[in-house]
Amino acid sequence: MKLKRRKVKRGRVEIIPMVDTIVILLIFYMTFSRFAEATREANLKLPVSRAGDEFKQLPQQVIINMYSADDITINKRHYKVADLPGFLSALRQSDPKYERMSIILRGNRDMTYKDLSDFMTACAAAKITDATFTTLDKR
């Protein structure tokens, strides 16, 4: 008896579902790479301004998120304004890139000038003279 050879099914790549999957993955990673910037608190209400340059962080700049004098976040760790001089001085000594350290303040629009004044005094105690204030574009 002659045996019939079974037909070999050829595997083929389905293009359309592959494109769908790739686009979804692309959007997913594009989105969550932004959230990976843990140093910037997303739920902080920044003040608005008309002027200002594009946001850019230099290597020697430290981002400080400030809700009030008692609620400061740096790299997702909570501090009080009184802790800042010690923290900033220790950071400067720990890494040569922070030798000429400056700060980027992401302050809550509802905090008071007293909070800001306390913050400036703490920075002055840590011998920091340059500050950048982050705002939202007023449209």
Binding site: I16, D20, V23, I24, I27, F28, M30, T31, R34, A42, L46, P47, V48, S49, R50, A51, G52, D53, E54, F55, K56, I104, G107, N108, R109, D110, M111, T112, Y113, K114, D115, L116, S117, D118, M120, T121, C123, A124, A125, I128, T129, D130, A131, T132, F133, T134, T135, L136, D137
Partner: protein, 141 residues
């Protein structure tokens, strides 16, 4: 000869690709609506504390005292947000090397302070510094 009628193809909506497309559009708009507010930066100088000199090392050319979002005193003269921008432009036209010192009441909100800083930046005044509250006020909580 009898001609055979061609069978008419019925158009139908493909559900699965449609769900794919809707999902992609949904994710796209959800993501980018969050980031629609663009962040900006305004540079400034912080006060320097030194026991031998005064609390700020800059010469006091223009003093901006911010009371609230609608009231700012420039060397004693009162301005609102809109007129402050014009005033700062006029002051800048006299001399862009002028140093601006911003101070405020303890309860003034940060938005009002940034509003004053914004007016300086719009007038292209680069030398802006802050004056912290006196120690007595700062100590009172």
């Amino acid at each position: 000869m009898k001609l055979q009628r061609r069978s008419a193809k019925r158009g139908r909506i493909e559900i699965i690709p449609m769900i794919d497309a809707i999902l992609i559009l949904l994710v796209f708009y959800m993501s980018f609506s969050t980031f629609s507010a663009k962040e900006k930066r305004i540079d400034s100088q912080l006060p320097v504390i030194n026991s031998n000199v005064a609390s700020t090392q800059v010469s006091l050319d223009i003093v901006l005292h911010v009371r609230n979002r609608d009231e700012v005193l420039v060397n004693g003269a009162r301005y609102d947000t809109a007129s402050l921008r014009d005033a700062m432009r006029q002051l800048a036209s006299i001399g862009q090397e002028a140093t601006v010192v911003i101070e405020a009441d303890p309860t003034t909100d940060y938005q009002a302070v940034i509003g004053a800083l914004d007016a300086c930046a719009l007038a292209n005044l680069k030398k802006v510094a802050f004056r912290p509250l006196p120690d007595k006020v700062a100590a009172a909580r």
